[in-house]
Symmetry: C2
Subunit: 140 residues, 2 copies
C-alpha cells in the first residue's frame, strides 16, 4: 500500500471513529476501491473489484459499507434515472454529466458563485441541505 493510500485510510478511520464506527478490512477495501478508479461504479462494480483484494467479501457487506461511507460523508451517491446507484468519492461541489453514448458519468466542477445563485432561486420558506445537478447528453 502506498503512503497516500495509507493516508486516505487514516482519514477513513478518523471519520468512522467520529461516528463511533469501527475501521474494518471490508470498509477499507470498499473505500480504497472507490478511490482507485473514480468512474462512478455501481455496488455490483465495487463488489467485483473488491473481491480481487478480498475474495470472501459479500455483496451485502459492500452495500453496508457503501451506506456507512455515505453516512460518514466520505463518498456520495449518484442516481441517474432508474439505473443502479453509483458511488463517487469526489467531495467537491460538482455536477454530473451522463454521456448517452458511453453510459459514463463525468464530474463537472461547480463554481461556488453558481451554487449560490442556485440556492437564491428558492423561496425563503425552502431551506436546501443539498443540491444535485445532472446533465444528460452526448460527448462529441
Amino acid at each position: 500500500m502506498s503512503d497516500s493510500d495509507q493516508q486516505t485510510i487514516d482519514s477513513l478511520s478518523q471519520k468512522l471513529a467520529d461516528s463511533g464506527l469501527r475501521t474494518t478490512p471490508q470498509r477499507e477495501v470498499v473505500y480504497s476501491t472507490l478511490l482507485k478508479r473514480r468512474d462512478h461504479p455501481t455496488a455490483e462494480d465495487v463488489f467485483a473489484r473488491a473481491k480481487v483484494d478480498m475474495p470472501t467479501i459479500s455483496l451485502a457487506t459492500v452495500y453496508n459499507c457503501l451506506e456507512t461511507l455515505v453516512q460518514c460523508n466520505l463518498i456520495k451517491q449518484v442516481n441517474h434515472e432508474r439505473g443502479p446507484t453509483r458511488y463517487c468519492p469526489n467531495l467537491q461541489p460538482h455536477a454530473h454529466f451522463h454521456d448517452e453514448n458511453t453510459g459514463a458519468t463525468i464530474d463537472v466542477d461547480l463554481p461556488p458563485a453558481l451554487l449560490a445563485e442556485l440556492k437564491a432561486i428558492l423561496p425563503p420558506s425552502l431551506e436546501a441541505s443539498a443540491i444535485e445537478i445532472t446533465f444528460r447528453g452526448k460527448s462529441v
Copy 2:
C-alpha cells in the same frame, strides 16, 4: 369535461398524432389525471386516481401511457434518490425541491439566465440535451 380540459385533450391528441400514436381513452384519463392534481404522483398514485374515472384500467397500461406521454414531451419524469418515479406535467424549465418533512416535491421556476450559466460550465466536448436540478431540504 370543462372547455379547458377539452383543450388540453386536443393538444394531447395533436402531440400523439405528431408521433404517429393514437388517442385512447386510457391516455386521456392518465393525462388528465396528471393535469388535475400537479403534486408529482407516482405511477401507483396515477393508477389509483385514474381508476376513479376508469375502473378497468390496468397498472401496466398506466405505465405504458406515462411512458408514451413522456416520449411525446407532454410530461416529465422526476426521480429522487431511489424512490418511485414521479410524473409532472409542468413543461417550463424548473427545478425540484424535495421536502424532507412532508415528502412533497415542489416545482421551483428556473430563470433562463441561470440555465444558460449552468450549460456554460460544461467543457465544449459535452453537449447537454437535458438538465435536472434537485434540491433536498426542509420547508420552514
